[in-house]
């Protein structure tokens, strides 16, 4: 629990523009005190030139690039294979594919070893192999003590060249992705940054869209395998290795190790260009559980290779880079309105980055702070910065350049990055020269040419009840951002012959575990009574209910509510519902709910392979998806040990809204007529617990008559 003074990344600094007159007079020591040494009197020796170590570069016979750099300080070895891929290549209906592939390459194990076996093998020697796919690059990396070089290289090679994508780890990756979706609005700062970037790049573009339950759910093992195959081939990989080894020996070792990795693919296409539909303007996302307004204000930035890039960096630094910048001086130090405030001209190698002014201020000072920001943006566009501000910003940038090459790991990674994006290897030297040449006139010119406040996007995340002045007093109409997370829709996954066959096997296994297909099919009717404890958040009452069912699809439900009795009947296609207020035909959402219940009726669901029109598709080793031609879908998960069904996922139709996801967790299995039937059912709706059901009585094959159950009360 550190309290840190700065969250601002100090990339550069700037000057005291508020009070240009105060900087000059020399300080006199306080009377009576010994003269204080002044930093102005310090004479620094010239900086020892940075020795950029030479990286040995090779191309292996299979086309893979190899970069080696010895570093003998510690008995360690590290490496990273950089792969030209990225989530920019995600298909629009399967956003999350690259991310999931990046996770499961490592966790899903290799042809010869499961992920868990790799975990143990690597951690026993304190080594690591990890994989990841980000926006516009993928990687598989390793690290180990020198004594374990050969062992870690072997695992690294297998992970990179022969990942197996075992289904249980696909499920795990999906769980992690879904967790990220559910939690993406919990941190207000993160919401502001995300919404800002997505709006500026355009939410319809790969740069601005985001993973949703629906897109994550659609991704299959075949998708991961195809994605991997398309991008992970020798000519598309650059491998950098640094650490305690000898270059000639390491080159031989790696060449030999990868000699059988010879797959070919057509060259990878260019990444999509930035070109979505941005919608600049003022935006507000309401979060009532915060006392600060978190904001991001700005527009598209640029690329490293823009000729104006160095002047733009200086401009942004003077505006809001370091502690002597205009925004920090005014909003934080003078107004006391923010802890975190800053501006950054963020560039990328291959597509425009973002120019972003961001920070947080107490709700009440939101409008005042935004006004101050607007004024500072106008000021830097309309008048020249001072000579002192310019000098401070340039000194800061130039003096800290040494940190770009202060370790061998950074040197090698920088070299890999330059090669990856086709930047000149002497990029930093060119940048240094260009920084030195920036003038006050340049700063004003680039601010005028590149900053367009009329087309800024302003995103505020906070509680408008406490703003004092509404946001639109700033002049622009305010668009509301809806943070509702689209709930997932179950869609039947596309099955192939293998997964359909496997689905049947899994179902047969479950039939066996519950008592066998014979006893299941022998159940022709049942009477089930249960108590239904609805959670306090959903009404908090105890409901008694009795269900009666006659095969195949006659169903009667009698419910005892505090407000009176409700009865309903359905023959599979139509039915009625009777309440204390009268009766009517089953229709709309109610009919759909009953039909869904019939579809998921325990004995029928488990015999889905015998019901006309139903498909049973395996999603992984313990999950099947059952669908029929009317659009009903349910996902059934089995316990890996007992093989009993333990969880079913489906959708509940609602009147006047999209269906919401629901699930039931089954437990307390008791045997009825040779079949294990759950007697406790936990119901979740929309990701939250809805009710707990306890079966109080269960009879089968008692010979109930259709005339009895279809009779209205």
């Amino acid at each position: 629990m550190k309290k840190t003074l700065l969250t601002l990344l100090i990339t550069a600094a700037s000057a005291a523009a508020q009070l240009p007159s105060v900087s000059a007079p020399p300080n006199k020591p306080a009377a009576g005190a010994a003269a204080a040494p002044s930093y102005k009197d310090l004479k620094f020796p010239p900086l020892r030139p940075i020795q950029i170590p030479k990286v040995a570069t090779f191309t292996l016979p299979n086309g893979m690039k190899l970069y080696l750099l010895e570093d003998h300080e510690l008995p360690m070895i590290h490496g990273v294979a950089q792969v030209r891929t990225g989530n920019l290549f995600d298909p629009a209906d399967k956003i999350g594919l690259a991310t999931m592939t990046g996770m499961v390459i490592r966790t899903g194990g290799t042809r010869t070893k499961t992920g868990e076996q790799l975990d143990e093998q690597l951690e026993n020697i304190a080594a690591s192999v990890e994989s990841n796919i980000g926006e516009s690059a993928g990687s598989v990396s390793f690290s180990a003590l020198r004594e374990n070089t050969d062992e870690v290289l072997g695992v690294f090679k297998d992970v990179l060249t022969a990942p197996e994508f075992r289904p249980d780890k696909i499920t795990l990756a999906r769980t992690q992705l879904r967790g990220g979706i559910a939690r993406r609005n919990d941190d207000a700062r993160g919401v502001a940054e995300r919404e800002f970037a997505d709006i500026v790049y355009g939410k319809d573009s790969p740069y601005g869209w985001q993973v949703e339950y629906a897109t994550a759910n659609r991704i299959t093992r075949a998708d991961l395998q195809d994605f991997y195959k398309r991008y992970f081939f020798p000519a598309n990989i650059a491998l950098g290795v640094w650490g305690d080894f000898d270059t000639a020996g390491m080159k031989g070792k790696i060449e030999k190790l990868f000699s059988d990795f010879a797959v070919e693919q057509p060259p990878v296409p260019e990444f999509p260009k930035v070109g979505g539909s941005p919608a600049p303007g003022a935006y507000l996302a309401v979060k009532k559980d915060v006392t600060q307004t978190f904001f991001s204000i700005g527009q598209l930035g640029g690329q490293f290779n823009d000729k104006d890039y160095p002047a733009l960096v200086i401009m942004a630094d003077i505006l809001g880079g370091g502690f002597r910048s205009r925004l920090v001086g005014r909003v934080r130090t003078k107004m006391g309105n923010a802890y975190d405030i800053g501006a950054d001209w963020d560039a990328n190698y291959d597509h425009p980055g973002l120019f972003e002014i961001s920070g947080g201020t107490k709700s009440l000072s939101t409008v005042e702070t935004f006004k101050a920001i607007q004024e500072e943006v106008d000021r830097i566009r309309t008048s020249e910065v001072t000579e002192e501000e310019l000098k401070i910003a340039k000194d800061t940038a130039l003096n800290s350049l040494v940190f770009a090459y202060d370790t061998r790991a950074k040197t090698l990674r920088r070299m890999l990055t330059y090669a990856y994006y086709g930047s000149p290897p002497d990029f930093i030297q060119q940048y240094q020269k260009a920084l030195e040449a920036v003038t006050r006139a340049d700063v004003l010119r680039v601010a005028k040419e590149h900053l367009n406040p009329a087309a800024f996007t302003t995103v505020a995340v906070g509680n408008p009840d406490d703003f004092g002045h509404p946001l639109d007093t700033l002049g622009a109409p305010v668009n509301m951002i809806d943070l509702t997370i689209p709930q997932e829709k179950l869609e039947a996954a596309q099955g192939d012959a293998t997964s359909l066959e496997k689905g049947k096997q899994l179902l047969a296994r479950a039939q066996q575990a519950t008592g066998g297909a014979g006893p299941l099919a022998a159940v022709k009717d049942y009477i089930q009574s249960f108590e239904f404890q609805i959670e306090s958040s959903a009404g908090g009452m105890l409901v008694k209910e009795t269900d009666r069912w006659i095969a195949p699809t006659y169903f009667r439900q009698d419910t005892d509510l505090p407000s009176g009795k409700i009865a309903a009947f359905c023959d599979g296609r139509a039915g009625w519902i009777a309440t204390p207020q009268g009766w009517g035909p089953l229709a709309g959402a109610q009919l759909k709910q009953v039909q869904s219940d019939l579809f998921r009726l325990y004995f029928r669901l488990l015999l889905s392979d015998r019901i006309e029109g139903r498909t049973v598709n395996a999603l992984d080793d313990n999950t099947i998806e059952i669908a029929d031609t009317t659009g009903q879908t349910a996902r059934l998960e089995f316990d890996a040990g007992t093989r009993l069904p333990q969880r079913v996922l489906y959708e509940v139709a609602r009147a006047g809204g999209p269906p919401i996801p629901a699930e039931e967790v089954w437990s307390d299995f008791q045997e009825i007529a040779g079949v294990k039937v759950p007697h406790r059912i936990t119901v979740m709706q929309g990701g939250r617990k809805y009710a707990e059901m306890k079966v109080t009585d269960f009879k089968v094959n008692s010979g109930i008559q259709l005339e009895v159950i279809q009779k209205r009360p």
Binding site: E123, A126, R183, D289, F294, F323, G336, D406
Partner: protein, 503 residues
Amino acid sequence: MRALRLCAILLTAAICLPSQDLKEFEKKVTQFTLANGLHFIVAERHEAPVVSFHTYVNAGSVDDPSGETGIAHMFEHMAFKGTETIGTVNWPSEKKALDAIEEAYDRLEAERNKGPKADESRIGVLQAQLKMAIDGAEAYVVPNDYLGIIETNGGAGVNAGTSLDSTEYYYSLPSNRTELWFLMESQRFLRPVFREFYKERDVVLEEHRMRVESNPQGKLTQDLLATAFAAHPYRNPPGGWPSDIVSLRRAEAKAFFDKYYVPANITMAIVGDVNPADAKRMAERYFNPLPARPLPPRLHTEEPPQPGPKTAVVDSPTQPIVAIAYKRPDQYGKEDPVFDVISLILSSGRTGLLYKDLVQDKKIALVAQASATYPDGRYPNLFVFFLVPSVGHTVDENLKALDNLLGQFKARKMDAETLARVKTKARAGVIRRLDNNAGLAQMLATYHASYGDWRKLFTSIDDLNQVTADDVQRVARQYFVLPSRTVAYLAQPGVAGAPGGRQ
């Protein structure tokens, strides 16, 4: 699209290199203590012309006086506000203006102290006068001059932190500017002036809003500590309580500084392209003027035994997170390495038992981690588990799964392979941290300040290697017990379904 950010709570376990590594490393290290008691550790790494500095003050928010919580943190902010010669256009005039602020503030407080008899209209007038005095002093300030000088000279990673046990200041410079650090660091402790105190107090309040009030994890950990500790100041947030912060006075910061920032209570580490003889010469020149003063008194409040299990429910419309804490002794006890081994077994890598069970197999958690020492280690503290439930899974399910896992953990002896694995990982963990100047400077200063010898960084690995399966089982059985447990979790307002429920 950006990569998805999962809500990971990153916690690091204290891990530490055995004696053969120590001998090799020792050659690079020089240390000396000035006559006034200030201690320096210098480690040479000449790979690149850069150097990192770390100042560790043996005083943190546990030392905040009652009613003045947040003062240690407030001083940390003041340490960047300059000196009698840095950050002012005219110190004698500025000093008068600063004194005028205090006089105006005294008059305001005198009126407020009348309580119900205070004259509201007079308070209004006095507030206006105070504001005028504060604005008046602004005219003499060169804003953010102190930090600006460091930045302009290429300073990287300039920062500071106040935790419960300590306050730390650190940054890196191009190595030709090493003398600048000596000058700036000595001046801020020789001639602090506490300028812009009341504006900075507003900034600190904004920091509290950002870190705690607007952050679900911040709310959770604040309430976890306030619930788990009844008496010991580990119960207070390291930044202080807002009602205390808003009342802090400049004289209180000065008093805190005078009492705790004595040379013998401070350790400084320098790592990188530095010549130890030059460093010593500069240390003497710049830091000898700090007068020797007596060490501050030790904290005497002890946490009484916990009378029974506690639960804290934190309303939050966000997704749930749960923290489960068990009381444990301080970092000086002989069981300290055992707790480290337990946390490594439970929560390091993908072989950690928590990850395997809750995340990988049951998939009821996105994150399941343990921290052996929380919130800090100098006093008896907490062994904490943080669990982040996955979609559709509850706090309750996660708690039950953890209980089961801990039950099994206590019931059987840890196998030799697992024990060997975590010891190997601990050793490698220390080696991995030796190639980073800033990280190394932080560790050298911290280990010296906490244990009296930086070598503990390496020798603590030997302690860890002595831990047996019996120790692990004994300590788990003794400390993971219900009466000393505190559970805190985030829950949607008005939603039941978690332990302890809510009516």
